[in-house]
Assembly symmetry: C2
Homo-oligomer: 345 residues x 2
DNA sequence: GGGTTATGCGCAAACGTTTGCACATGTATC
DNA sequence: GATACATGTGCAAACGTTTGCGCATAACCC
């Protein structure tokens, strides 16, 4: 309700001035004498006056809101992105409104509509993985056309021309393969993630290129498909590893790395002595397991930061058609699920 | 910018009607004929019309915003609370604005002010742990006085009369002690968390009561203080455990449980055979370690849900002075860091 | 056919700001 | 002492809605 909230009018009456003078005094307009500006400032402070944002927004046709659409809150990667976005957005004096879609593109579209009707000035989006939804793409295009820029992150989509901030999954995977090879692995497999994710595609491409440049051939087929039914996945993964005599594994995620680690430990297969494992993302989980999981760390918070910065650069040059694709480097974080160089061969 | 955004006026001109008719038609006012209501609905849809929220909010002096203040985004517990709050808030057709304070009460106060100037209709707050800040308390009191209810969660503070949603830390700790005793532990220690947290206090009280009711005396002093310098903490924790011949540990958090688990493994002390460990919260980490950590699980998402529901009940009875303190039950989740009953004694 | 009632719609004010323009002083210029 | 200019302030419109009130028209009653 905000009872008794002071208005400019109240300040004006108290000081025997007009509302225009108060308004100008509050914005430090030089046309108002310093004496009056001070008086106004003091009274405003003592009354705890703050401008009614709705009146301001209505008048200026400007919301000061930025919208963010995430798959979910509870995934550490996304919460770091959120943190990065939030920092930049609040530094700029904007407010952030966050929605989630749980990888349901219907919900994503609803979220985007909701943000639009809140008149956000720009949107940062990680779209739903199962998104071949032209309706959604059309919405984002319309949004950009009408002067509300959209920056996508994490997942790349060819169909929609916009700015992207993504991880260098390709080279990240290559660096992982490099390390596996250097520490003696020869039969290296890739444990896929969801196949509608551009990140999965790029990591697999990096996996292949890594093998090629290291002169390891015949491994192209050593990939094991994702299955969201973990039990089923585990049941078949074992034979995949055995049948192919695999001695090194690159995983789409740290969670998959954890699953396969458990699997191997159940079978009494030594990690990293018999099989090396590298995960992807640098999630906390990778530090809690034993052995700790080596992983390709993504700069999650930086992704959020850069996405927000790029969004603001669009806002500041609203007429420019320039778009950016920013590919942020990964870092290979070596822990205990890979061998050290000394152990090679 | 939202170029070319349709207004009621545009719809009115197109249909040769007045803005009042359009407005009423859009809200399904029965005074408008069904024929006209349909016409308007169809045109509005085809033009993608949505009401300008600022005009509406200004007119109705109502923001449709709820504010949430969290310590941080990246802690799993808080992201679950956020999820719970978000669900309820969006179901109610409200928008959520989230701020964080990183346990800095200066930042918390700023966040609260920011939410206030956005005219949120209510706030859900987990305040900064180092908060003896009367300025902040005064702010919340003023907020409630002026018709903007505040619901606190997780951390309890005697100084401010408001609704709270907290975990039953006391009984949660008792259930943990019960289990430790039943499985044969006799020298049970408590590893404290930050001592300015009500949660820490209540868990310690439960620890004591658990010992008392199980007839275990002389353990009152078996608590080890928190130290945010983890290295220093580890260095002294070992002697605490040794000197007291401890065979069972209750920890303030799962992270502390993890730390002590590592410590014990380094010393080649078997968990749970020689020492049992129980953590607190039910964080993901407790499932990734080996042994997996038994823990007192908190209903994090439910906490968020209830906090939001209570907030809305305040909004719906804005004149009522009733406040609620909701204490949500924990669940003892037994994993591998505690012995099974068969192993007792 | 005069009076009442129901139906469907429009006028205009209000919400709290900002801002282009105008106006009233005071001061400097010739 | 008239002209120009600077300084400080106020008037009123505008942003897009909602809504109390009032006004037509039509339908009904007796």
């Amino acid at each position: 309700m905000h009872k008794n909230r002071a208005r400019i009018k109240d300040l004006a009456e108290e000081l025997g001035l007009s509302t225009s003078t108060i308004s100008r005094a509050l914005t430090n307009d030089k046309r108002i004498s310093e004496r009056v500006r001070n008086e106004v400032a003091i009274l405003a402070k003592s009354w705890g006056y703050t401008r009614n944002p709705f009146a301001v927004n209505l008048h200026q046709n400007k919301s000061n809101h930025i919208g963010l659409i995430l798959p979910e809150f509870t995934h550490h990667f996304f919460s770091l992105v959120l943190k990065g976005v939030d920092k930049v957005v609040s530094e700029k004096g904007y407010n952030l409104i966050v929605n989630t879609h749980n990888d349901d593109h219907k919900k994503e579209l609803k979220a985007a509509h909701a943000l639009n009707s809140l008149m956000v000035e720009g949107m940062i989006v990680c779209y739903a993985s199962n998104n071949e939804d032209n309706e959604g793409f059309k919405f984002y295009k319309d949004s950009m056309q009408s002067g509300v820029p959209v920056v996508f992150f994490d997942r790349l989509c060819e169909d929609i021309k916009a700015s992207y901030v993504i991880t260098d999954d390709f080279n990240g995977a290559i660096s992982a393969i490099d390390h596996l090879v250097k520490t003696g692995c020869r039969k290296i497999g890739y444990l896929c993630g969801p196949d509608d994710l551009s990140t999965n595609f790029n990591r697999e491409m990096g996996f292949r290129e890594g093998l090629r440049k290291n002169g390891i051939t015949g491994n192209e087929y050593l990939k094991f498909s994702w299955d969201k039914d973990t039990a089923r996945w585990k049941a078949t993964c074992v034979s995949f590893l055995r049948d192919n005599n695999i001695d090194g594994i690159l995983c789409f995620s740290d969670y998959i790395a954890y699953d396969v680690l458990c699997l191997l430990q159940d079978l009494n297969i030594q990690v990293p002595d018999q099989i090396s494992i590298i995960g992807f993302a640098g999630e906390p989980i990778s530090t809690f397991t034993r052995p700790r999981i080596s992983t390709v760390t993504q700069p999650a918070e930086l992704i959020g930061k850069r996405a927000a910065e790029i969004l603001f650069s669009h806002l500041e040059n609203i007429d420019s058609q320039t778009i950016y694709t920013e590919v942020l480097p990964t870092e290979l974080t070596l822990r205990d699920s890979t061998r050290t160089f000394g152990m090679a061969l």
